[in-house]
């Protein structure tokens, strides 16, 4: 049974003291997650949120429609000049993200700390 997508927005700092915005997703990400994924990203001002980590460590399921939403965020962020790092994917979805070409827009990291440290 599909569970709702939840997203929590947190702030952190990198080694240089610059702000990092972390979007922590949980539940399932599918076609019904547009508001949680795209809506949450669009609520962040591109001027104030230059570095963003998308954390999927609490995500239980991610289908192709959900991946389409993530790609949409990456394309919009690339156009706005924002940097995005991705963390917390299972090995299966790391492979899927690589296959669909997401790594051209956002590097993948095993966890949030590594993703933040790499900015």
């Amino acid at each position: 049974m599909q569970t709702d997508t939840k997203v929590k927005v947190d702030q952190a700092q990198d080694a240089k003291g610059d702000s990092i915005t972390i979007l922590r997703f949980s539940g399932d990400i599918s076609s019904t997650s547009r508001e949680a994924v795209i809506g949450t990203y669009q609520s962040l001002s591109p001027h104030d949120h230059r570095q963003i980590v998308l954390d999927f460590s609490k995500v239980e399921y991610l289908n192709s429609s959900g991946i389409a939403l993530v790609i949409q965020v990456l394309i919009d962020a690339a156009k706005a000049g924002q940097k995005i790092h991705i963390s917390g994917l299972t090995p299966h979805f790391q492979k899927v993200f690589t296959m669909v070409g997401i790594t051209r827009y956002a590097p993948l990291f095993s966890d949030e700390t590594a993703a933040g440290a790499a900015f």
Binding site: R34, N63, S64, A68, I71, Q72, H92, V100, G101
Partner: protein, 638 residues
Amino acid sequence: MGPAAKKLLVLPTLVLSALVSIAYAAPPAVTMDLDGEWAYQQGDNPQWADPSFDDIGWARLGAPAFANVAAARWRDGVYWYRQRVPEPRVADLAFQMGPVDGAYEVYVNGKLIGGRGEVAPHPAWYAAREEVFRIPDNARDLSGYVVIAVRVYRGPVVTRWYAVGTDSTGHWPVLGSEAILLSDVAARREALLLDEFPGVMIALLCLVVGLVALELFRRDRTEPQHLWLGLAFVFMGFDGFLQLISSNTTAISVVPFMLIDCSVVAALQGSAVMFLGSCISRKPPFVARVLAVVFMAAIAMLGVSMALGNPALYTAVNDTNNYWLIATVLLGLAAVVRTVSTHEPNGLVMAVGVTAWEISLVWQFRILRWFPNVPTQFHAGPFTLKVSDLGIALFAVCMFYVLVGRFLRLREEREELGQEFEAARRVQELLVPQFPHGTPGYVVDTAYSPSSQVGGDFYQVLPFEDGSMLVVVGDVSGKGLKAAMLVAHIVGGLRHELSREPADVLSHLNRALLGQTDGGFVTCGCALMTQNGCVTLANAGHIYPYRNGEELEVPSGLPLGLLAESTYPETRVHFEPGDRLTFVSDGVVEARNAKGELFGFDRTRALSTKAAAEISDAARAFGQSDDITVVTICRQPA
């Protein structure tokens, strides 16, 4: 009600009457009403059953009060009643107890002859009902008198609750011939059964309507109104049968019964309020949801107050029910106005049903406060019909009519939709052929299993005159009819494609799909295979193909339909005779079992040298959650 239905009601009644008359043909005998003065005392002492006990110091009470102790003066607890009377000269002497709403034991000349419920130490009592107890010969003596002692436990709040019912019967204890007492009791029970018969039929009707509504909700989960209506009617029916069981059997004692009954009535009221709210808007308005919760809590509190034996709490909670009832009626009026104004099919019938139900509710339960002489029940032949039952019956009949209409419409729509899906499936079969023609030198094997009637996966095998062959395998994100429409668009584009180069083919498709994917995308793998074994591959986000059981990493561009400037690098490999290339869609690697475990890349790779159908079947058996496509191409030996 039609003549046939009337016959259905009358027939069992006549049969019942005949049976009772045969069983209790009254012999000539003697009975004596024990309507004289009774001595009574609160407390409990087994010595008080002794016929020689002197009860001269006890208080005195008339018989009617024996059956209906005024709750204002009497508290719950154990009471003893005694009376010495002349013994009627009959062989089959028996004692008939009125419908006392408490547990009791009857002693005659110091001997226990029967009882109902448990008096002490853990009182348990049942709904009021007349009983007849035979007095055995060893309880009689030659004095010409009998001393009757009755030990009674009277409950707290529940006693008062039932006092109304006891009042109306007005029977006091009787001593006399067992045959005639049984005959009298049976006659009264028969009358009670006739009184209850309409209620039973209405309860049955409610259950039927409720189950029809729930079935309709099961078939169409987008209409919560059917859920609330179904629950309300099922609880109405259940409550009707619960009352019947309680008043005619000792299956359940009064306190657990009241707790269960209050729970059922609370669920009934909550569902009914939500149904009225759903008539106003698909998601019931906030005020309706609050009212449902408050109403349910209030009725549940009634049950708790009775279980706790707290009359003050009971009275306080019961008084608030007036407000919730008025609020429900106002909500019902809004629902009626809304239903009529939306001009939905049979809306007027539905409005009539709701209005009848609401009027009967107010009539039955509240109008007596202002107009005490207004009747709340009517007699129709041998039956007594309550206004509230009539209102519920009319409501149920109206809603049954409405539900049947909706049921038929839904079935018609489903059939039309099914025909449209079938047509779409046939079109897709033409677009995505089950047995595609390859080219000499290559054997193509495919398996295609959409998760619904039509799918969002696709493949095309396009042979050329020079013996080369273009193989395209893809997956539209999403599934169902929407994805299938996009597949038709893609296949049309591929069949008119002029280039054979995989990178060009993907670029052209990408541009054709820009703005067409409604926020989704299309993954696509493409391979050009020539007669000399040269294979050129390009990938737009599709799962890597497998070559002879090993993953073939083909550098990927973004999926199609996202970015106009996407490019697709080409990879060239050489295939020897016997080499096999296997494409799968993500429906294979992301098949999920009941535990949520994915089929995964490792299992897919291990199976990738098998026939297409075998790979597809394995993924489907694991747990299909998306369209599944497998295409294998094997280069034949020269």
